[in-house]
């Protein structure tokens, strides 16, 4: 893993931490979404732990979680879904950025995480986007 790839993965890792925090919040606040939130929380914890291990194995610096994140407290299913879609879309954007920095192996991994985040956004209520992760504004 090159230093540029490690920097890109650190941005993804920071968002995996945030996703774990967000889905914990969703599960705790919105009973109707508790099962889905638990599943997402577990998936992001696994992704976070695998990424931490890969960065460490490569001798690269890692990042830890923040004490809290600037995520609106979900009051109902709609606000919870918006929070989930938001973090998944930002994960997708971090992966698209990483694709440009990475060699074949890391690019392949970034594409896989991009797919996972983009599909999760759909699962949490997003409409399909033409180009997830690319800010075309």
């Amino acid at each position: 893993m090159t230093p540029r790839e490690a920097a890109g993965w650190r941005r993804v890792l920071a968002l995996e931490h945030e996703a774990v925090w967000t889905y914990g919040l969703v599960g705790a606040r919105v009973t109707d979404l508790r099962d889905d939130a638990r599943e997402a929380w577990t998936a992001h914890r696994s992704a976070r732990d695998a990424l931490l291990a890969r960065l460490a194995a490569a001798g690269a610096r890692t990042v830890g979680p923040r004490p809290a994140y600037d995520v609106p407290i979900p009051r109902d299913a709609a606000t919870a879904r918006r929070a989930a879609v938001d973090v998944e879309r930002r994960l997708a954007a971090a992966c698209v950025a990483l694709v440009a920095l990475a060699g074949d192996d890391e690019r392949r991994r970034a594409v896989a995480v991009l797919r996972r985040a983009s599909l999760a956004a759909i699962d949490w209520g997003s409409a399909p986007q033409a180009f997830p992760g690319l800010d075309r504004s």
């Binding site: 698209v96 594409v111 797919r115 986007q129 033409a130 180009f131 690319l134």
Partner: protein, 149 residues
């Protein structure tokens, strides 16, 4: 600023992206450059042809299920992908129309995997980003269509 539809090349990679939407290029950090890359041009051309076929498939779905027609989000995304790649809709009907939503979803899922492989193979980082994002968008359509089936 680049004129819409202008022939442009991604910075530093010698990628000639004739017709590729300028907003898309800017989103991927590209800027004009005179050197074409034939292999990347082939990847872009293949992605555009495939996208044209996907739009024709979507439009050819028998009865256009109400769940897809309701808000038009799926068609808008698919048409925008084609437009941004610099392609135009096919002039004729789909060669082999899908017979169900499940069939259509399978075509988008397969096309998503194709675009993922192309993203990994692309020489130009900017094209890799566009193809990776296109793959994710196709996968989202596949999931949405599959759920409607």
């Amino acid at each position: 600023m680049l004129a819409a539809g202008a022939a442009v090349v991604a910075a530093g990679a010698g990628l000639h992206l004739a017709g590729l939407d300028d907003d898309l290029l800017r989103a991927a950090g590209a800027r004009p450059h005179p050197e074409p890359d034939p292999a990347d041009e082939r990847l872009l051309s293949a992605a555009t042809s495939r996208q044209r076929a996907l739009l024709a498939d979507l439009d050819a779905l028998p009865g256009r299920p109400a769940v897809l027609a309701r808000d038009g989000a799926v068609r808008r995304a698919v048409a925008e992908q084609l437009r941004a790649l610099g392609g135009r809709p096919a002039s004729g009907p789909a060669a082999s129309p899908p017979d169900s939503l499940v069939d259509l979803a399978g075509r988008f899922a397969a096309a998503a995997r194709e675009a993922e492989r192309a993203a990994v193979a692309a020489a130009a980082p900017e094209l890799a980003q566009v193809l990776a994002s296109l793959a994710a968008g196709r996968a989202q359509v596949a999931r949405t269509v599959g759920r409607a089936g």
